[in-house]
């Protein structure tokens, strides 16, 4: 028994020693909201490219569930590894504050991308596009698709997702304009960026609101799930779909007419910019004050501007429209 134990221990030790320990390179980590999100994977791909261009090593992490608890645990692990910077897409704007404060006390810079934390918990946020524009443009799309009247429903990610919530606020503001007097927002449903939940939420929307004209899904997981449901139920022309989606996932639904057009920015560029901002922060070049310029590799230099929540941010650009005309060019890119 004892002999066997020692043998086992020896084997384990040998296995362990074969795994080489990390080198002296700088290391930057990115934490996305949860695993299995194609947008997140593209974002992290861009982040990795930027980090590697600067000669450092990228660590890519995501929890199995889109919760703040799980992200707290990952951040603790990264602090223990003395990483040189952490980028993240936050699952909750406030719940990460204590652990991020701990990280910043140990001089680990924090940059958020896609979904921000509150301003106290970050140096700067990388914003995909002006949230006002993203919100308004989706309502305008719904207006054009529905012919100016009818019920609208929103299928969002989690109810705490900072980015989606900001866009939805702007959508509601746009809807207050007199132009939209015949359009009504009947419900905001939350698919939690999980495929099965987004599917069942879409089905529930269709059942509860038989007069529904447009579903707006400002999340890549939600819009793809809704596209599938509308296609399967053969609701093309009766219920329209728009929102923010990945061209590769949405190409079929854009071509079959379920989703006449949708918007997005380039998630790879978003991650890439976050990577450069983080490297700049770690080198002490970027401090997150308004008016600073940062070098962003293949993207042109970007400026730090003030953000709507009282903090600062760097803007990637305007949302891009994908329709049957241009979808073929983009579906293989991301």
């Amino acid at each position: 028994m004892v002999k066997r134990m020692t043998a086992l221990a020896a084997v384990l030790l040998v296995c362990c020693l074969m795994v080489a320990t990390a080198g002296e390179k700088k290391r930057y980590a990115f934490i996305f909201k949860s695993t299995g999100n194609p947008f997140g994977e593209k974002l992290m791909e861009g982040f990795k490219t930027a980090i590697e261009e600067s000669g450092a090593e990228a660590i890519l992490r995501a929890p199995d569930l889109p919760t703040a608890e799980a992200q707290i645990m990952i951040i603790e692990e990264l602090i223990a590894q003395n990483v040189d910077g952490i980028g993240l897409a936050a699952n909750d704007p406030d719940a990460l504050q204590p652990v991020l404060r701990k990280a910043m006390r140990q001089e680990i810079p924090i940059v958020t991308a896609d979904s921000a934390t509150n301003p106290e918990s970050r140096l700067v946020h990388i914003n995909q596009a002006d949230p006002e524009l993203i919100g308004r443009v989706q309502i305008q799309a719904a207006y054009d698709m529905a012919g100016g009247k009818g019920d609208i429903a929103i299928l969002s990610a989690t109810s705490q997702a900072t980015n989606q919530n900001t866009w939805i606020e702007w959508m509601k503001k746009e809807l207050e304009l007199p132009k939209y007097k015949d359009m009504k927002l009947v419900k905001v449903a939350y698919g939690d960026d999980l495929r099965d939940k987004s599917t069942s939420e879409t089905e529930a929307l269709l059942k509860t609101f038989p007069d529904l004209k447009v579903i707006i899904a400002p999340t890549t997981v939600g819009i793809a799930a809704a596209g599938k449901v509308l296609t399967d139920k053969n609701l093309k022309g009766k219920v329209f779909l728009t929102g923010l989606g990945l061209p590769s996932e949405m190409a079929d639904y854009i071509k079959n007419g379920v989703c006449p057009w949708m918007y997005l920015w380039n998630p790879i560029d978003l991650g890439y910019l976050a990577g450069y901002a983080l490297v700049g922060a770690s080198d002490g070049i970027m401090t997150g004050t308004i008016g600073e310029y940062i070098n962003a590799g293949k993207l042109s230099a970007k400026t730090v501007v003030s953000a709507g929540d009282g903090g600062t941010e760097i803007m990637l650009g305007a949302p891009f429209k994908f329709d049957p005309e241009n979808i073929d060019q983009w579906k293989d890119v991301y």
Binding site: C16, T35, R61, D64, T67, A68, A80, N82, P98
Partner: protein
Amino acid sequence: MPEARTISADKPFSWKAFFLQWEWMLLVLFILVQVANSQLSSYYFNFDKPGDSAMKLIDATMTFLDKAFIALPMAFVIIMGEIDISVGSTVALSAVLMGVSNKAGLPMPAAMCLCLAVGTGCGLLNGVILTRFKELAPMIVTLSTMIIYRGIALIILEDQSVGKFPLWFEFLGWEYVGPSPFMLLAFLVCALIYGVVLHKTTFGRQLYAIGSNRTASYFSGVPVDRIRIAVYTLIGLMSGVTALFLTSRMGSTRPNVAQGYELDVIAMVVLGGVSTSGGKGRMIGVAISVFTVGYLRYGLGLRNVSAQVLMIIVGLLLIFAVMVPNLRQMAAEWMANRKRAV
């Protein structure tokens, strides 16, 4: 003249039996995890800076101890041969009510008491239902209350979160008493109390009796119903404690916190050597198991292992733990058969 015979329940002491106890296996497992972790990641234990690294490891307990508070009374429940899967929802409901009442103007200390009271109430309700309707299985009753408690939390707060607690509230989950995190100290004290209660009191002895044979215990005068209510109330109270620590660590709360905690907790208890068929297990095993699972997850996290792989590894460990007693028995039978053949 026939020799006088004495009958005694005490077995003669044997070193072999002593070291074959599950708790020793666990300790070996714990040490293996430590060795493997420190080999896998130089950030886990840096031998150049032992003091610093030890501090970091003590620090790491804060990442997994919140749910461990429920593991202590869960050991009681499982020793009785029962189960409670409503604990995660109890945590969520207590935390949400604390957040909402604090936001509505209740001072934080009172809100914290409310949190504990809600947890205790949830546990008490489980206990009362189970003792009033004896034909209902604990699994079914706690499954129902698991859905109900989280349902209530969702009705109260829908999809929103509440936060903005006073800064001193972060003490629970983030601050230190001397070199030890407050959470670690609190857990060790609780574990000690639960250990003493289980192993040194009549109450503890009665738990084992109920787990071994509930009917026989009842007819021997063990107040089975009172004890069951007490144990379920206790697990509710500890769920409230977990809610306090978890909320302190997150700085805000919402209805979907603590999802899957029931499974994590049951896993810790079972790995700790508490038999799911009741009547067996010790508190020291549960305590070691809490740290084994916690450090395993933490160590793999330092290697940046992906979430899915991590779940598989913890699952494998659990299957191994459940299988070991069976394997041991199979091995013993095989040995006995071989002896007989010879």
